[in-house]
């Protein structure tokens, strides 16, 4: 089914989740390689991809937030302790914030560096700040700092999903997997 139920994620939610997981992993790879590569045509090309995918992620996050607001959110299994519930909500909230903050800070770096850019070579991205070297350097630092944070939170997120599946033996991971239809407990 397309929509969520209180027991299970719907098809669109699953699509958005795994689609974005793939894009975010790609971004981490692209960002790391582009930043460390020597000055060359390849470096510039990698950054162009990195920035384009970054803006695509912003679009998807907004769609995802809208969809989440219009759908029930599956509840955690009965008996889940309070601290787990808090941990889950906090880490998911942080992930949403980071999924927006990372592209936003990247956008600021691009604007402050006065670097011409078109999303996927097509859509010009307007500058959100005026060119300024100090701003560019500062937000580059923030962008990199946020990358470290998201890597930590993602490790927790993936680790927790696996823990739910292999240790707690509940359906928390399973209900996000594509193909599962039954809304049972």
């Amino acid at each position: 089914m397309l929509r969520n139920t209180v027991y299970c994620w719907g098809t669109l939610a699953k699509l958005l989740h795994w689609g974005m997981a793939a894009l975010i992993l790609a971004q981490i790879g692209l960002g790391l390689i582009a930043a460390s590569w020597r000055v060359s045509p390849l470096k510039l090309e990698l950054f162009f991809w990195h920035k384009s995918i970054g803006m695509l992620i912003v679009l998807f996050v907004l769609i995802r937030l809208l969809w989440r607001a219009c759908n029930p959110t599956p509840v955690l299994p009965e008996g889940t302790p309070g601290w787990e519930r808090i941990a889950a909500r906090t880490s998911h909230l942080l992930l949403y914030l980071l999924m927006l903050a990372l592209p936003l800070t990247g956008w600021i770096v691009n604007s402050a560096s006065n670097i011409p850019f078109r999303i996927f070579w097509l859509i010009p991205l307007p500058a959100i700040v005026a060119p300024d070297d100090l701003t560019a350097d500062l937000f580059a630092l923030v962008h990199r700092g946020l990358f470290v944070v998201i890597t930590v939170i993602l490790t927790v997120h993936i680790g927790a999903a696996l823990w739910h599946h292999f240790v707690k033996r509940n359906n928390v991971l399973v209900r996000m997997l594509p193909g599962r239809r039954s809304p049972h407990e």
Binding site: P41, L44, P116, R118, D133
Partner: protein, 186 residues
């Protein structure tokens, strides 16, 4: 008889147009020299802050004209800090070895209307290249201007070497535009 012919020739000699054309000097405040490379097909406007244009020219007798342009290549500014740093290097403009560029033209022809062609030589990054530059000459109550644009291939001058030579991420064609405000040298 010969002396009589000579007497008639004298006034005619004075009526012939002088080979000395009007000299013009550039007004730096009102003049711009731009170069516009492309990055991922997006034009990136840049200027040369320091350059000079000297011209001897009369629109009615362009053949006597001389055009001399000298450019301080190290004054290039693409308005992007990282890029300005890169272009100073050996792979690009190589400021250290080739700080100056020049264009000399002694062959000026009228084309049509206010358009003329200056055929000369461009000296850039150690390369000597014949070059024809079309320009418009406009004189009005507000002053006199010389303006035009042309496209150069950066490969001709070895600007962007190694893997940059064939890469189209920085386009091979670079547009150059000029708007020169001139005043007579009296």
């Amino acid at each position: 008889m010969n002396k009589l012919v000579l007497l008639f020739c004298l006034p005619i000699a004075f009526m012939l147009p002088s080979a000395q054309a009007t000299d013009w000097k550039m007004d730096p405040a009102g003049s711009t020299l731009m170069f516009i490379p492309t990055f991922e097909k997006i034009p990136v406007p840049g200027i040369f802050r320091t350059f000079d244009v000297r011209v001897s020219f009369d629109p009615e007798t362009p053949a006597n004209g001389v055009l001399k342009v000298s450019i301080d290549v190290t004054s290039a500014d693409l308005y992007i800090a990282d890029v300005n740093k890169e272009i100073s290097g050996k792979d690009w403009f190589d400021y250290r070895n080739f700080p100056q560029a020049e264009f000399h033209a002694t062959n000026l022809q009228h084309k049509q209307g206010s358009q003329y062609l200056a055929s000369g030589t461009l000296y850039l990054k150690g390369v000597k290249q014949p070059l024809g530059v079309l320009f418009n000459w406009n004189s009005s109550a507000n002053g006199t201007t010389l303006e035009g644009e042309l496209t150069l291939s950066r490969a001709t001058f070895g600007i962007g070497t190694g893997e940059w030579a064939t890469s189209e991420i920085i386009g091979s064609d670079v547009k150059v535009t000029f708007m020169i405000k001139l005043h007579r040298v009296d």
